[in-house]
Symmetry: C2
Subunit: 700 residues, 2 copies
C-alpha cells in the first residue's frame, strides 16, 4: 500500500465562508463527538502500530484501563459467592427452584455479604452498576431481580415519590422486607406507555384511589417479582379525577401509585388483586414475572407518587409541570437508569462471550498444511473475521459504557437540563446499539465454537437466553433508536431556529448539499495505511455519514409530511431514521475510543488500543461501504484498500487476542466455561463430563 | 419510477467472438443455474404484479404448492401425537425425563402409529424427510433422535456395510430393538474427520479387531443415543493392519465398525467401554449424547462395514477404490442424507417462526397517528424490513430444499456420478446457507415479537436452542461452504482443461476481465420497475457476482499459492471463498424460485409468488450493493431505485403476509404459540397464563 500525500488544506476547493459556517454547525451538532484529533502521541503511535511485527502487549497496563473503578466491591461479590456453593446456580434447575434460589442469593448479598445496593442507587450510581455487573456474572436472573427491587421498585419510590415515601419505604426496600414490583407494562401496551388503560380514580368520599383493570388488554404483564415474592407494586395508571361536568371524570394522564399486593405477614394476595404466573421465559427464569388484574383495589391518597403531580384532599390537581406530556416525560426521564445498567451489563456479557470464544479458538486446532501440525482455528481468516471485530467492539463499547455511567452519575448530582437530554439520548442509543450487537455476537460465538460451544456448561446458551430480552425491556431497541433520531432532528432544527422553516430548509439543502454530496475527489482516492489509520479520516467518515443521513432524512420527512402527515412521513422514512441513529451512535463510540487511545498514558497499552480502535473503525466503514461508494466518498481503490486493511488488522489483533481478552481481567469463576479455562481447558472439560484426568497412551 | 427502454442486444459493444465463448463457458459453469428466462407468462406477470393495488391471494392454490408431496404421512404424525397428550413435550422437563419421553415418542411412532421411517431411508428418502419434518414439529429432539437411529446408525449399516450387515441388523434397527449410535466425532476432531485417532487393529490370531482410544483427545464425543439408550455404535477408527516390516502395522485410513456397547439383555455397558454423559446442551436435551472411551474392545472381523474396503481372514486388505482418500470420500459421500434432512428441516423451522412472527405482528397494535386507532406493528416500515424479506426467503428456500430432496432421491436410485457430485455440493451449500439464515431469523423473530416473544410458550426460545446446532453438525457451515467453493473452482478448472494451466489462466484473466470488469454502462443506469423485476436482470446480477468472485479468487489463489503454498493461499482468500460459495447458493436458490414462478399453473398464485420472488432477489442485491457499486454494475441512481423498490415490495408483501403464511398450511397444533393462534390469540394467551376468559368492562 502506498503512503498518502501530505494533507494540504489549501487543496480544498469548497472552503468558502458559507461552507465554513455549515461545517462548524455540523460539528457542533454532534457535540459529544468532538474531541481533539491531534495529540503529541500521534506520530509516535503511527510508528508503533504500522510496524509489521506482532505487538508486545503488557496485559497489566491494559487491565488497569479495563478493570473499572469499582473493582473492589465486585471482588467482594465474586468472593462471597465463590465461598458459598449453596448459592451457585446449577445448570439444570426447575423454574420454581430457580426463583427461590435467586431470592436467597439476593437476601444473602444484602444480609450476609453486607452489600446494600439501594444505598448507591441515588448516592453513587456507578457503584450500583458495578454491583449489578458483578452479580450478573453470578446469575443474570439475580442481576435482574436486584434491578427490579432497587432500580425499578425502589427507584420509582425515590425518584417519582417525595420525602414521605422515602421515609416510609426506604428501609424496607433496602433490607428486602418490602420486595416490590414495577407494574407499568400491560398485555396490550409495552412501548406505548401512554396507551396503558389501567385506571386510578380518586374517591373524595374516602380519600382513596380505586385501581381497576378495565379489560383484559390492560392486565399488567411481565411484572418482575409479582408471581412469587412481591409485597408492593408501583402501578402505572391513568389518574381520573371527579369533575362536575357531564363526563363525571377527567383523565389527568399516566401517574404511578404504590399498591400493596400481598399481606406483609401472611403473604396472601390482597382482595381485588388477581395474580398469575407469566410462566417460563426464554431465559431469566430466576425472575418471577407475573400478571396482575385489579378489581376496585383501594389505596390511600398518600400512595400516589406525587413528585410531578399531586391531588389534594378535595380532589384538586396540582403540578409544577404544565401539561400531561411534560409530566409524562419527566416521569419516564427518571427511569433512564435502567437503560444505563443494561448497556453496561451488556458489555460485560459480550466480554465474557468473547473471552470464551477467543480462548477456545486459540486452543482448538483443526486441519493444517500437509504434514504439519494442525493450526488453531483462530488462525483461519474466516474465524478472525467472526471474532476480531467483535473483540474490538467489546473494547470500544467498554469505554462508551463507562462514559455513559460517568455522565449519568454527573446528571444525578447536577440535574443539569442539557445533561438530562444528553444522557437520555445517549442511554437510549447505547442501550439499543450495544444490546443488539451483543445478542448477535452471542450466536456468532456459539457457532464459532462448534459442538463444544453447544455444551450448556460452556455458557453461550444461557448467556444468550438471559441476555436476549435486553433488546426489549427498558425500551424496545427499535423504539429507542427512533428517540435518538428524533433527538438528532430536534437538535438539527434548533441550530437553525433563526429563519422561517422553509427558508432554513432551503438554505440547508443548498449549502449542505455542497458539503455533503461532493466529497473531496482527491482524498476519496487516498489508500495509504497511514491515512486509513488516521483517526481524523475515520471520524470524518463516520460523521460524514451521520450528517448526510441527517440532512437527507430531514428533507424527506418534510416532503412526505405534506401528503402523509407526520406519523405517515416518519413511518415512510423509518429505515432511514434507524440507520441515522445507528450511524450517530457508532460515531459516538468511535470518538470516545479515539479519545481514550490518545489519552492513554502507557505507550505499550496505547499501541494495542490503537490497533483495536483502527479495526473497530475500518470494519464499520467496510460494513457500510455501499453508502460510501454510492456518494463517491471513497473511490473503488480506496474501498478495496479498506477491505484489505480490515483483514490485515484482524490478523494483527489475532496475534494479541489472548492478551487482549486477558486484559479484561475476569477470573475463571466469572467465565466458568471449561473450554475457556486458563489452564488445561480440555482436561477440565473431560473431567466435568466424568472422565478421570489420566492422559493415557495406548497404541493398540 | 420510469420504465426502462426496450432491450436491444445490438447495444452491446462487447459482443465479439472470444467474449461470446467465455460467456457461454461461464453459463455452462453454473450448470444448475440455467433455466429458460422467458416464458409465455412473462408479460402477463408484469401486468399483474406492477399494479399498485393489493393482490388478491387464493390461499388454496398457493397451499397446494407449499404443502409438499407427502403431506398425508405428515398428517398421520400430527394426528397421532395430537391424540396422545402423554407424548407431548411439556415446556419444563428435566433432561432425564426429556430423554425418556423422547425414546417413548419414537417407540410409539414406530410401534403404535405404525410409521416405520427406516423403510424409507433407502427406498424413498423423500418420505423419510417428510416424516422427519413432521416429528420435528412435535419435538425437534425426537427428529434428531430418529435421525441418529435411522439415518446415521441405520444409514451407516445400510450404506457402508454389505448384505450380511443388512440381513443381521435391519429388523432390529427398524423395530428399535437395536438402538444405535454413530461414533465419528472425537473430543479433538470434528470437522477434520481424517484426523481422528481411535484405532481398530486387526488381530489375525483371533480374527478380531481391537478398538482403542489412544488418548483423551480421541474420546468419541457428542455421540447421540450413547449416554442412555444405545446398544450398538458405528465407530469410525483408523484401520491398522499388521505388517511384516519394522513398523509392525500399516494405517489403512478411516473405516467404520459395528461395536456393541451395551448388553442386549441387561443393558450393562460392555467391558472395555467407558461411557459418560455429555450433559446439558443449549437445546435438544431429549437426545442423550454421550462420550465413549474404548480400551482393547474386541469385535469380530465381520463387524467391519466393508462396502468400500475389506480385510480377509489372513489380514489382506482389498478395495474397489484405489486410495485412502478415495475410500474416505466414498464413505463420507454416503452420509449426505443428513445434510439434506437438515436443510429441509431448517426451512420448516423458519416457516414456523415466520408464521408466529407475522401473525403476532398483524395482531399487535402499538402507537398510531394522532386521534386514530393504533396500527399493527407490521405496518411499520422497520418491521416490514425485518420480516418480509425473511418471509420471501422461507418461500425461496422451500423450493430449493424440495429440489434438493428430489435430486437426492434421484441420486439414490440412479447412482449417477455427475449427480453424486451435484448433490454433494448442493446439499453442503443449501444446508449451510439455509441453517445460518434460519438461526439468525429466529433471533430476529423473537426480537420482533418483543416481550411476548420472550414467553417460552411462544416458541422462539426452544426453536432457536434446538435449531442452533444445525449450523454445526453434519458438517460445520464454514467448512461446508469451503467445499462448495472448492467444487466451483474444480469445475472452473475442468472447463479449461485444454491448455496448460498458466496459459489457461492468462487467457481467462484477459477475456473474463473484459466481460467481468466492464458492465454495460447503459443497463447499469436502468432503474425502471419493469427492468428491476425482470428475472433476467436479477439472475444476471446474481450470476455476474458469482462469476466475478470465482474468477478473481482463482487468480488470487494462484498468486498466493506461489509464496504461501496451497493451504496458506486458501486461508489468505478464505473470506473471499466463503462469499463466493454464498453467492453461488443464492444464485441457485433464485434460479429455482424463478423457475417455479414461471411454471406455476395458477395465475393468481403466480402473481403472489412473483412478488415474493422479486423481493427475495432485490433484497439480496441491495444487501450486497457495495460489490455491485464498486464495479459499476449498477450506477448510483439504479442502486437507489433498487433500495426504494425493495422497501416498496416489502410493503406489498406485507399486504398479503397473512395469506402467505396461511399458505404454508401448518395447523395450530404445529405452530402452537398462543400469540399465533388463528382465532382469539390474545385470549388464548391470557388463558394459558391462568386468567379466565371473560372480557370484562369495568371503568371504575
Amino acid at each position: 500500500m502506498q503512503s498518502h500525500p501530505p494533507r494540504n488544506d489549501g487543496d480544498r476547493t469548497l472552503e468558502d465562508d458559507s461552507h465554513a459556517i455549515v461545517t462548524r454547525r455540523i460539528q457542533r451538532l454532534s457535540s459529544h463527538l468532538t474531541i481533539p484529533v491531534s495529540s503529541p502521541h500521534q506520530s509516535q503511535l503511527h510508528m508503533l502500530t504500522c510496524a509489521r511485527a506482532k505487538l508486545e502487549v503488557d496485559t497489566r497496563a491494559l487491565s488497569s484501563l479495563m478493570r473499572g473503578k469499582h473493582r473492589e466491591i465486585q471482588e467482594r461479590v465474586f468472593m462471597f459467592f465463590d465461598s458459598r456453593p449453596d448459592l451457585q446456580t446449577p445448570i439444570e434447575i426447575s423454574m420454581k427452584d430457580h426463583r427461590e434460589l435467586c431470592m436467597r442469593q439476593l437476601l444473602a448479598l444484602v444480609r450476609e455479604a453486607g452489600i446494600r445496593p439501594f444505598r448507591y442507587v441515588v448516592e453513587d450510581p456507578a457503584i450500583y452498576f458495578a454491583i449489578a455487573e458483578a452479580v450478573g456474572s453470578v446469575d443474570m436472573s439475580l442481576a435482574i431481580k436486584m434491578g427490579v427491587q432497587y432500580s425499578l421498585w425502589g427507584g420509582s419510590v425515590l425518584n417519582l415519590g417525595t420525602k414521605k415515601h422515602r421515609d416510609k419505604y426506604f428501609d424496607g426496600i433496602d433490607s428486602l422486607e418490602y420486595p416490590g414490583c414495577f407494574a407499568m407494562t400491560e398485555l396490550h401496551h409495552g412501548s406505548n406507555v401512554q396507551g396503558i388503560q389501567t385506571v386510578a380514580t380518586f374517591d373524595p368520599l374516602t380519600d382513596e384511589f380505586v385501581i381497576n383493570t378495565p379489560n383484559d388488554g390492560a392486565i399488567k404483564w411481565w411484572i418482575g417479582n409479582a408471581a412469587v415474592h412481591g409485597k408492593f407494586a408501583t402501578v402505572f395508571a391513568k389518574l381520573m379525577l371527579p369533575t362536575h361536568d357531564s363526563k363525571g371524570v377527567s383523565d389527568m394522564g399516566v401517574h404511578s401509585f404504590i399498591v400493596p399486593i400481598r399481606d406483609l405477614k401472611t403473604h396472601e394476595t390482597l382482595p381485588g388483586i388477581e395474580i398469575h404466573d407469566c410462566g417460563h421465559k426464554v431465559g431469566l427464569n430466576g425472575v418471577d414475572n407475573g400478571a396482575l388484574r385489579f378489581t376496585s383495589v383501594r389505596i390511600p391518597r398518600d400512595n400516589l407518587l406525587n413528585r410531578f403531580g399531586d391531588v389534594s384532599r378535595d380532589g384538586k390537581y396540582t403540578s409544577s409541570l404544565p401539561t400531561i406530556n411534560k409530566r409524562f416525560a419527566a416521569t419516564l426521564g427518571e427511569l433512564v437508569g435502567g437503560r444505563v445498567a443494561l448497556a453496561y451489563s451488556s458489555v460485560s456479557v459480550l466480554k465474557i462471550a468473547v473471552i470464551i470464544a477467543v480462548r477456545y479458538s486459540l486452543l482448538r486446532q483443526q486441519f493444517g498444511p500437509p504434514k504439519k501440525p494442525e493450526v488453531s482455528i483462530l488462525d483461519y481468516q474466516s474465524h478472525q473475521h467472526k471474532l476480531m471485530p467483535m473483540l474490538a467492539s467489546a473494547y470500544a463499547f467498554h469505554f462508551s459504557a463507562q462514559y455513559l455511567v460517568d455522565k449519568y452519575s454527573e446528571m444525578k448530582k447536577t440535574h443539569d437540563e442539557q445533561l438530562v437530554g444528553d444522557v437520555h439520548a445517549l442511554s437510549a442509543g447505547l442501550k439499543s446499539y450495544i444490546t443488539s450487537f451483543t445478542a448477535k455476537s452471542l450466536s456468532t460465538c456459539r457457532e464459532a465454537c462448534g459442538g463444544h460451544g453447544y455444551a450448556a456448561v460452556n455458557r453461550f446458551g444461557s448467556l444468550r437466553n438471559d441476555h436476549d430480552i435486553f433488546q426489549t425491556f427498558e425500551g424496545d431497541n427499535t423504539v429507542l433508536l427512533q428517540q435518538v433520531a428524533g433527538d438528532l432532528l430536534k437538535q438539527y432544527n434548533e441550530k437553525f431556529q433563526g429563519g422561517t422553516l422553509t427558508v432554513t430548509w432551503n438554505y440547508l439543502r443548498e449549502s449542505m448539499n455542497t458539503y455533503l454530496s461532493q466529497p473531496n475527489p482527491v482524498t476519496a482516492r487516498w489508500e495509504g495505511e497511514g491515512h486509513l489509520r488516521d483517526p481524523k479520516f475515520q471520524l470524518d467518515a463516520f460523521r460524514y455519514r451521520t450528517s448526510r443521513l441527517l440532512q437527507s432524512v430531514a428533507v424527506r420527512l418534510r416532503k412526505h409530511s405534506k401528503t402523509l402527515g407526520m406519523f405517515g412521513a416518519w413511518n415512510r422514512c423509518l429505515n432511514h431514521l434507524l440507520t441515522l441513529a445507528e450511524s450517530h451512535i457508532e460515531s459516538v463510540i468511535l470518538a470516545k475510543f479515539v479519545e481514550v487511545v490518545q489519552n492513554c498514558p502507557d505507550a505499550n497499552a496505547r499501541a494495542a488500543l490503537k490497533l483495536v480502535c483502527d479495526l473497530y473503525a475500518l470494519d464499520r466503514i467496510w460494513k457500510d461501504i455501499g453508502t460510501y461508494r454510492n456518494v463517491d466518498y471513497v473511490a473503488p481503490n480506496k474501498a478495496k484498500a479498506i477491505h484489505k486493511l480490515t483483514e490485515y488488522l484482524s490478523f494483527q489483533v489475532r496475534n494479541i487476542a489472548g492478551e487482549l481478552v486477558d486484559a479484561f481481567d475476569l477470573p475463571d469463576q466469572v467465565t466458568r466455561a471449561p473450554i475457556a479455562m486458563q489452564s488445561e481447558a480440555y482436561a477440565q472439560y473431560t473431567q466435568y463430563v466424568g472422565f478421570k484426568f489420566i492422559e493415557k497412551a495406548i497404541n493398540r
